[in-house]
Amino acid sequence: MTNQPRDLRKIQRWMQAVIMHPDGIVGGINSAAARAQIGVSSDEVDRVITRSQALNSVKRLEVYGNAYYARLLEVLCGEFPALRHAAGQEAFDGFAFGYLQSSPSHSYTLAALSGSFPQYMEETRPTRETGEEGPDWPDFLIDLARLERAYSDVFDGPGPERGELLKSDELSDIPQECWPDVILVPVACLRLMTFRFPVHGYASAVRNAKGEGPAPPNPQQTYLAINRRDYVVRRRALSFVQYELLRAIVEGSTLADAIARAVEATDTDVETLARQFGDWFQVWTAAQFFQAVKLPGQAT
């Protein structure tokens, strides 16, 4: 014990720099960030951290240093089971370890920890081989990260369970002449996403696997609507034209404008689309994609 206590701020910044250092406690003690606070070497660290009868000061600090990464890796492993399965534990740990160094938690909740993990995967992906075309293995891993993070957001974000939902008969009751100007209001949790691989099937297969788990799928442009019903995340595969139609609706277009946008973007025949979309809206309404419908002249 000493008669002249150090400033608590310095001790905390020193300890944080030491236990979060990727090279371990000795690397942390010798780091510039730690030395800027308290200039001790690993041989002198008992001037800050006292030893116990059984452990020296470095060993004692290692409990915190080991736990820091182990705890947060455990969280990421739990949140990204399909990505972990695809990449393998060692590679996944490498991604996660790199991510934790580049984006340490700034939040009081672990729910925010992986918020920019998909972006990190994208930014650190290996350079594509010259001449190589089409989606590759890193694209698959990035897609999985995006999907599983979306699952987390939808699972614990605002959902439709306690609010009003659009009912099928409300759609049926809309006069034919009003349809072009109808605006459908999506539920807050609805996410429309595109992927280069059918990652939704792969992720479900991993979660349900009893044995080795699924093999990676071949590339296939994939469009998904992800929402929540009865507090469980649901995903529905869409065709390109369905995706474009829903995208326009989510952005606030009237049905007529949404159809026009979908037709233009997908080069679909408007007659073909018109024959189908009544059924689509019944399915999407049953799937709880929409909370309300606004008719022409209705106040927003």
């Binding site: 008669n3 236990i19 004692r60 409990v63 492993c77 614990d156």
Partner: protein, 315 residues
């Protein structure tokens, strides 16, 4: 005059509410006296965790236990966090709010660990000032827990029990006396756990925690992944006698077994109570069907808990 336990009643034997037990609790209404939640798992939830909590809160008393208050940090207090904490407490009618005598990060970071502080006059002053601000904002006394710790500081000038004693006297806060943490820290820091228990202000103990830990020979880690060991039960017996009894909660956060196993563990506490001192509700669990173990993740033998994260349920 200090009102014993801040006027909070002894509400008996409780359990930590964990996601893997949601279905069992909602389906079977087990006769647990109360539940404790990890505050941060529910503060921002708009999904199933919050929905389940509200149902549980309709059936059982709820106490909130936080892991991110960071009362010992030198970073500014997070007023947005405190506001959300208060909103949750108000909305579910939490009986009291607790957190730890620790810090979780500085410079805007969160290590998501319960990091220890030096026990010195300057740190005591710093902590008491922050406790006062938080209590004013939350409009209720805080209940603070002694953490398990793995290092001690050369800058400490008093033992942990003296620091906690003076902190409680100065701020009028309550104490959550984690008996397992006293044991773990006593092994790690070579002190006598009985001396610790005798020294804390008994009338301020609002709640006890019990948990399992991992003994690695040279030190113990507060892993919350198993049964409470006999020496900890004996310390609980002493703590119970010294305090006259207080609400008691079992934490089990890793390798979590089926609900009846966890429930049976906390019921063991009745064997260590002096029946003349306290009355607790007769607790019965008629749901003892064996279920497979659930949620085994990571290397919990080296990771202190709680690590609070809720994994998404997807179709």
């Amino acid at each position: 005059m200090v009102i014993p336990r801040l006027g909070h009643p002894n509400i008996g034997l409780g359990l930590g509410l964990r996601t893997v037990h949601y279905r069992h609790i909602l389906a079977h209404n087990p006769q647990v006296d109360w539940f404790e939640i990890i505050s941060e798992n529910y503060m921002d939830s708009g999904g199933r965790p919050r929905y389940v909590l509200e149902q549980v809160a309709e059936r059982y008393p709820i106490v909130m236990h936080g892991v991110s208050l960071s009362i010992g940090s030198t970073d500014p207090l997070d007023f947005d966090y405190l506001k959300r904490l208060k909103n949750l407490a108000d909305s579910i009618g939490a009986l009291w709010l607790s957190d730890h005598v620790c810090w979780t990060g500085v410079a805007g970071l969160n290590a998501h660990d319960l990091l220890p502080i030096p026990y010195s006059e300057a740190v005591l002053k710093h902590l008491c000032e922050r406790i006062g601000i938080v209590q004013d904002l939350l409009e209720r006394p805080l209940v603070l827990e002694n953490p398990s710790s793995y290092v001690t500081f050369a800058d400490s000038t008093m033992p942990e029990w003296e620091f906690i004693n003076r902190m409680a006297e100065k701020t009028d806060c309550g104490l959550l006396l984690d008996v397992n943490n006293v044991y773990v820290s006593s092994v790690n820091h070579d002190f006598d756990p009985v001396e610790y228990l005798q020294a804390v202000p008994h009338e301020r103990v609002v709640q006890f925690h019990l948990a399992g830990h991992t003994n690695l020979g040279t030190h113990c880690i507060d892993t919350h992944d198993g049964h409470v060991i006999d020496p900890v039960w004996e310390l609980y017996r002493l703590a119970h006698r010294l305090t006259g009894g207080a609400s008691t909660l079992l934490e089990w956060d890793a390798k979590i077994p089926e609900f009846p196993v966890v429930h049976a563990e906390v019921l063991k506490a009745k064997r260590f109570m002096d029946e003349e001192l306290v009355e607790v509700g007769v607790v019965r669990d008629d749901q003892r069907a064996t279920q497979p173990l659930v949620e085994v993740r990571g290397d919990s033998a080296t990771v202190p808990h709680p690590a609070a994260f809720v994994v998404a349920e997807a179709e």
